[in-house]
Symmetry: C2
DNA sequence: CCACCGCATGCAAGCGTTTACATTAGTGGG
DNA sequence: CCCACTAATGTAAACGCTTGCATGCGGTGG
């Protein structure tokens, strides 16, 4: 039996009034509202989300799509978003969507991806989708468009939808400029592997910022100073060992496109007996929890706050404040620590 | 209009048949099934989860309750569980439930916790709950019991429900024994802070295993050799600096209750100019991604596989294989790497 | 004093499925 | 050739809420 019935009977009102009283929206007299709430509490009543969704078309649930579940950065974002959404009464359902790698042989991955779009996201389980670092092909874009639900992105821009993104060019310039300002001229760069993930723009963008900054300073860029890793500590470590032992180059500073790679760089430098900052300055990007611990200079992008911001955006769109599909810039900030220092004069 | 209607019309059958054909359960002739599937595909039809849930009482959704969203370990578990559940067609909705810290002043945390139990978990949005490292009070236990849904725990035992847990005593003994076998007698232990999280048994249990193992070997345990950290790299680092510089003690080996603390220990030893393995052997627990990178000897507990296993348990219970409420032991394995070595003879 | 208005509430029609039960057609044994 | 039985399908009643519309009521301005 419709459980709301029981509450209605106990409170001596109709189910309609119970519904209205508990939703808190439309006009219900304070006295009635109190009675209903008392009855609900006494019976331990909580609305059935299925029934409520079916009747109202609203689910009180937001889908969060993440490319990685094992990366510090995305978890920080998730944490921020989850908290804000939960406080607003929304559940979060989590979808894992690894970046399409474009590899022929990854049939399983492609199937999972297709299934996510064709099946999971279309069940109308979410009032809105919050997608982090999502790159879409046209069919996928169409699927999401058909949902007719707010769709908000973090790390865009994604054409046609509201996104929050970091200005990767500016961030890279900021990091590079910091090293230039310290007097460094042989600045290496560790970034993502452009072949590794199809369509993942960020590494290329940061590299462009790095090169532009060098160019502005009249420093010639050397392809040998750019290495690819995959955003992991191990990757940064390996790349740095190469950079610091290649006899053709003599970098005095390294700009890593993520803090995890920068931490790997610090460890590699130490293992090679180089003095971090003294012999080689290292700067990262992210604002990793461990940056403080390692004394890592970084461009903090406040990931947890990003999660909150993008969640707030979702809530705004759900509230109908029909924001237009724009791309907003996220804040970032240079945090100077011990891993960077002025170039030691030879 | 009931969209299933359209499919039914296009396929020339009743909605009941469409429902059956798409669910794939009951008897539908292959021909009809094909027609229905074609019609559904043509219309891009996907069942509305709300309607389906309301009618069937099943949601195809599993709630996963985690104590931390920013810890490597829990994310590894989540990753494993999410994948298995997604492959089985289940959505995962994520609930963040920080451990109750028992602090009077943490009203906000207590409210969040209460709200999770009283509101979120009771909306009948989940077919089952998968709880990781959950510690419940009686009222909470009652709430979850009232749900009448499968409730499975990882890291128990939780009285009355089916759990998978690591034998923390055995793990600690295994780690300690490894160090004893290498000839160490002054073995330090870094574990969690018992006051930090009310009711979180694991640190105490591991410590007990450590002490039992020492006792078995006839080695006297020294409270000075036990330090508390909070399962972070920073914590392990700080604790290790203390251990290695306290003039009253001379540990030649450290057993850290987590790999992250063990990594902190390695970094601390290095910073103090000690040779890891040569001067001080270090062993952790978890099987962290970075253990290989740091050459860390560890007791691997295969967190991602734990996630899969506990997810499988959920699926089994949902399939009605009414497993009884038992506590099953999870596998673990000593992985010896470079951070442990035989005691150097003085 | 009346017509009108707005607020609080009730009534009942959905919302889009699933599924128990009824119905029909086909099958093999007696 | 009939019957009992099974497999495939249809019929229609839930499922537990939300919400447009109707109703009743006290107050207000003319």
């Amino acid at each position: 039996m419709a459980k709301i019935q029981r509450v209605a009977e106990l409170a001596g009102v109709s189910t309609a009034t119970v519904s209205r009283a508990l939703a808190g929206k439309t006009s219900v007299s304070p006295a009635t509202k109190a009675k209903v709430e008392a009855a609900a509490k006494e019976l331990g009543y909580v609305v059935s989300s299925a029934a409520s969704s079916l009747a109202s078309g609203r689910t009180r649930n937001v889908g969060v799509v993440l490319p990685y579940l094992d990366s510090w950065f995305f978890m920080a974002v998730l944490k921020g978003a989850q908290r804000l959404l939960a406080d607003a009464g929304y559940d979060v359902t989590l979808y894992h969507l690894p970046p399409a790698n474009g590899l022929e042989e990854d049939i399983e991955g492609a199937q999972r991806r297709a299934r996510l779009f064709d099946e999971f996201l279309r069940r109308q389980r979410c009032d809105a989708i919050l997608a982090v670092n999502l790159e879409l092909d046209d069919a996928e874009r169409a699927t999401l468009g058909d949902l007719r639900r707010p769709l908000v992105g973090l790390g865009g821009p994604l054409p046609g939808l509201h996104t929050l993104s970091l200005d990767d060019t500016a961030v890279a310039r900021c990091a590079t400029q910091h090293l230039l300002d310290l007097g460094h001229r042989h600045i290496a760069h560790i970034t993502g592997d452009p072949d590794f993930e199809r369509d993942f723009q960020m590494p290329a963008t940061r590299r462009a910022g790095y090169e532009a900054s060098l160019a502005d300073a009249g420093v010639e860029s050397d392809p040998l100073l750019v290495r690819h890793a995959n955003f992991t500590i191990e990757g940064g470590y390996a790349a740095t060992k190469e950079l610091l032992t290649d006899p053709r180059i003599h970098p005095t500073a390294i700009f890593a496109a993520s803090d995890e790679m920068a931490i790997g760089a610090i460890l590699a430098a130490r293992d090679l007996g180089r003095d971090v900052a003294g012999d080689v300055s290292i700067i990262g990007v992210d604002g990793h929890d461990l940056a403080e611990f390692f004394g890592l200079t970084t461009i903090d992008q406040f990931p947890e706050r990003q999660g909150q911001q993008v969640a707030q955006l979702v809530l705004d769109e759900l509230a109908g404040d029909g924001v237009e599909a724009v791309d907003e810039a996220l804040p970032y900030q240079l945090v100077a620590r011990r891993s960077t220092a002025p170039l030691r004069q030879p």
